[in-house]
Symmetry: C2
Subunit: 302 residues, 2 copies
């Protein structure tokens, strides 16, 4: 891996951030992203872009960051614990969109490159990322579209890529203490360097570029559904699960917090309004009950 | 430690739960606690008591549990990691009250006994607990009353007890990623077995019994303050910090989740309505700004 490779990825990620922001702003039609640039204490920095109170999106953020640090946090790699403590660079685009309308699912996407460095040794690098969908009122056809788009993006890279990364996503976005998945999944991968750098980078681009193709048609289809207090209240309740996952399990969040990242950028992923009600249970036969019974379990969607 | 000691503590804790629930119900004047009994998969169980939509308390829970498990989770003891994996018993009362009025602080209290057992060895036991106060609109005199009551409760047990456990509380209820304390502190202690069993148990009782003396006068003083959307919105925003602490740092929560505890009882501590706004900052000179500047730092209150 050369310095030119690193710069190339960093440059691409900023372009990706631009493109995704543009697509989401166009879809929203009212709110635009506000940018904040910041510097990391260890070196590097980021471009945080957030929006709030849009016509479609109640809250959302699309962040680019490229930071350096002196000691790679434990949360950065599960499969290579011996690298913890190395100098590192981490760069990525990470986004979460929380729509206002409970019929429009929340979505998350991330692509990242991590490089662990040691004087006198070759740097060790790996890519990671993926995207996943979190509906509150779920529709089978939306899940099929989301997963088919993910599958198409993976196909040029191998026959089992979608299958493996879809499975990894189901396993990763899982709330053990609730015995349910965070949403209906998508793709998740980490520690990717089994191909050469060029192919890995091409894969990251395929994932990054298919995100809007996967998400926007669902937003367009559902954003005009009418809803009332019942749906909004259920959305706020379910968003509690989103918070629980991000703070209890999410490696990206914990990596960010451990590595002294910028708190407001990391926790931008948290939903705008959230409710916790003690032991609330949906009534059987309702759409709210169907969500946990039929959707928040690993399923074959393609 | 004899079986009779264990039964005695378990019995006392249930009485404490009764007394605290009675005091809080009387203060609320409208809502009452609903009880749910549950069994733990590993043995034992608990009495969850919750209230919602009271006149004073928007949400609250006072839980008793006494559970057995086959392998002590790591989160149970920081100072004795070699005990992780032992059979154990854990019993305690844990409570969190979230008032509706933003001028009334939230409060948390906990007393617990943990026993790590090993065939052929004497059981190893230790107590833990404490209480802490989380104001959103803070008053110096309330903090002084809270801490003086805590100090009085500790005094018979030694001159430095309050000082040490107050310091431990400031250190424990600290959000590193925010560089602020969760609230204005109080008492926190863990791994307590430096005295004999009788004295430790007496200390736990002193802590348990002083909680209402510390909290109720503050509730009484502030519950009639008038408030509007601004105060409610700030309270919901600050409650986000409460969630961040409990899910990112709190050993009780993580112990509960790791040991396969009852999710709804453990996460009963989470506030009813919470908001996250990207990078919101209070205006200098306001009460909201004073909270972080003057109160959410370790201070000498007695």
């Amino acid at each position: 891996m050369k310095q030119a490779d690193i710069s190339q990825v960093s440059h691409y990620l900023q372009q990706l951030q631009d493109n995704i922001c543009h697509g989401l702003e166009t879809e929203d039609g009212l709110a635009t992203f506000t940018e904040e640039r910041w510097n990391h204490t260890g070196g590097g920095g980021g471009r945080t872009r957030f929006m709030a109170k849009g016509k479609v999106f109640e809250k959302g953020g699309v962040n680019f960051s490229h930071v350096r640090g002196d000691t790679l946090p434990k949360a950065a790699t599960v499969t290579r614990p011996h690298l913890a403590g190395r100098k590192f660079q981490a760069m990525g685009v990470s986004l979460v969109m929380h729509p206002d309308n409970p019929y429009v699912p929340a979505s998350h996407a991330n692509v990242r490159l991590i490089i662990a460095e040691k004087p006198g040794s070759d740097p060790i690098w790996w890519f990671g990322g993926g995207y996943d969908l979190t509906p509150y009122y779920a529709f089978e056809e939306d899940c099929v579209h989301w997963h088919k788009t993910a599958c198409q993006a993976c196909l040029p890279f191998g026959e089992n890529i979608y299958k493996n990364y879809k499975k990894w996503c189901d396993e990763y976005f899982y709330l053990k203490h609730r015995k349910e998945t965070r949403g209906v999944g998508g793709l998740f991968f980490d520690d990717l360097n089994e191909w050469d750098f060029e192919k890995c980078f091409a894969f990251i681009r395929a994932v990054g570029e298919s995100y809007l193709q996967a998400y926007l048609p669902i937003v367009q289809k559902r954003k005009h559904e009418s809803f009332g207090e019942r749906e909004k209240s259920f959305q706020c309740y379910r968003r509690g699960r989103y918070v629980e996952f991000n703070l209890l399990y999410d490696r990206g969040t914990i990596f960010g917090i451990q590595s002294g990242g910028r708190t407001e950028s990391i926790l931008m992923s948290l939903p705008p309004t959230v409710q916790w009600q003690y032991n609330w249970q949906p009534t059987e036969g309702t759409a709210e009950h169907r969500l946990t019974e039929k959707f928040l379990i690993p399923r074959d969607w393609v």
